[in-house]
Symmetry: C2
Subunit: 403 residues, 2 copies
Amino acid sequence: MRGEGFGALLSYPEAVKILKENAPSFEKAEEVSLSEGLMRVVAEDVEASLDVPHFARAAMDGYAVLAADTFGASYQSPVKLLCLSSIKPGEIPDIEVSHGKCVRISTGAAMPAGADAVIMVEETEREGEVILCHRAVAPQTNVVGVGSDFAQGSVVVKANTLLKPRHLGALAATGVSSIRVLCRPRVTVISTGGEIVEPTDHLPIGKVFNINGITLSTALREYGCEPIDFGDVEGDEEALKQALKKAVNDSDLVILSGGSSLGEGDIVVRVFERLGRLLFHGIAVKPGKPTSAAVIDGKLVIGLPGYPTSALSNFYILVLPLIEQMLKVRFHIRSVKAKLAKKVLSTVGRYEFLPVRVEKGEVYPLMRGSSAISSLSLADGFVEIPENVEVLSAGTEVEVKLF
Amino acid sequence: MRGEGFGALLSYPEAVKILKENAPSFEKAEEVSLSEGLMRVVAEDVEASLDVPHFARAAMDGYAVLAADTFGASYQSPVKLLCLSSIKPGEIPDIEVSHGKCVRISTGAAMPAGADAVIMVEETEREGEVILCHRAVAPQTNVVGVGSDFAQGSVVVKANTLLKPRHLGALAATGVSSIRVLCRPRVTVISTGGEIVEPTDHLPIGKVFNINGITLSTALREYGCEPIDFGDVEGDEEALKQALKKAVNDSDLVILSGGSSLGEGDIVVRVFERLGRLLFHGIAVKPGKPTSAAVIDGKLVIGLPGYPTSALSNFYILVLPLIEQMLKVRFHIRSVKAKLAKKVLSTVGRYEFLPVRVEKGEVYPLMRGSSAISSLSLADGFVEIPENVEVLSAGTEVEVKLF
């Protein structure tokens, strides 16, 4: 199908579109405890099974009163009320407040029958059992009404919410102790290449340590997936076939790295064509051109470049959008806007992922070659440069995604 | 010390300063595998124990040549070189390239002796064993030099780096398989208040479910701590004393919620004064005024408000800066800049934490009361309004921190 060069390269937006069309729909869910729910994705709308709060309560420390009793009160002519007792948070009030009476009440305590407002303690003075009210309060003042936080039956947390502490708190408020979340997509990561070795004391000439295994696995974990690190498959076609068959069987998505460029040892595309349907080979992205994809046994398989920087940058721009689609969630990589400290030349027709440092509010390009992981490890983030841009002059404001 | 009102409120910056002065220094470290290192904080600088790469290698698929042999080559008058053999990634080259010769080489493969450049395969043509070079290349073209990614002895990852996939990749590149990281600070979370209950089918009037336990514990976990959820201590002074003694003994930092305002049931400040040294009580923050702090047995203890929104908002503006100081790291809550959809009135003299929604690029305030967790769970983020601001008019650009 291809000789010693790539054919016409697929544009970045087309590549994303094709990947998204072939990504699995994903609905597997499981029940986890609230505390395990942090950063998981809610599987379905959760409705409040009761009103929150389910009783009217005091919003302030003060006295529960009939609002009408206080009308006309001022510091100069206070209204006097007889204090009957006091109610603390957690207590069931067994008293009724009637005309001329009041009850001492603490923040969060249930309002006693009869009372319809709370006058703040700071707005009163106490003389034995008599309370002097220095201010008039309207009905419902300093009272938290039944269901004012969540009404029974209302949606507390929507499906596909990425659960943060505040959502877990809202669920806890309704008495929920476990929550149905989407399972983590299982993604097998396979490294290819006879040059890859696992950590050892003596590294032979020609060999390099496996970098993509750890970067891709941990990036997947950071974004809600369960990585399965397959390790390295040596450059034998049969071994790769067997590995891929196992991987598509075991997982929801498969990511390979290496073996997708045009060297004599490249076998990924050949194996893709034998085992399934090749979607594309070669995309107009810099770095990261030698990227391929296929569908094998109904599962999407993505062949990323072997170079560590290209593999990881393509994770951010190609794989992360797929995970977001599968989980129907947005992870929002945080970003800052800042000005370029120097001119950047880009290649027209290639979508560019440019690693940068941000220093004193200025953006410095930091591309040390796509083979160098330090291009990324020394960077604070990256700037995406669209296909049709040739030059970004110094001083241009750019959005830096802080990965 | 205090009657029925707070004394002069401590300003927000002063409160942060006092907390930081009393926060523990933190140097406990442990060794974890690289894959467990994700989002952990590096304890000490890590230096490269070898050059990366530790051999010169081809950056492109092509032919390893003596650059000088190609000088003058063009498409019209190609230079002819005899191809001796080929080298694949991972192979140890056992051949020397001399004048007039070349070797087929794949991306990532070790350069053979003698060769000092790689001419890309696309710039050549092959006629049997003879390679026609269509272009001249300078020495070192398409060659990745020894130590060009990391030189032996150079710092790969600095102390106090928050480990992301790219840093783990850089460590893997140097053959590291485990890494010394700071331990997670142990933080005990104690809820107080007789109204708090754990999830149950029937919630009595006057009682509420424990919200702060889950919000504070998971927020601590999100930001690198190991939370110890102590559960709820009922409003008895002796019980709280015992709980605090155990907590300061077991943990690096203690966070209470509830019991720090001025109701009759409030006991936290009394117990703080009995057991240790009260640092402050009452801060000029909205919401979140009834906040206190103390040092007990040398450990910092922070008393947050009982209201879920106040407790969690104070976590973000008071506790998170402490964790950052302890771990000497910045977590960078991601933020967006956008314009206010409507006017916001703020209280002069109070630092305000304003929950907001961001819709179609506009910022809508969303404060439903500090007792309502929905104030936070329905929000996309928060805007911080300094003490000296009274009005933010519609259209003002604000920074929304997306928690």
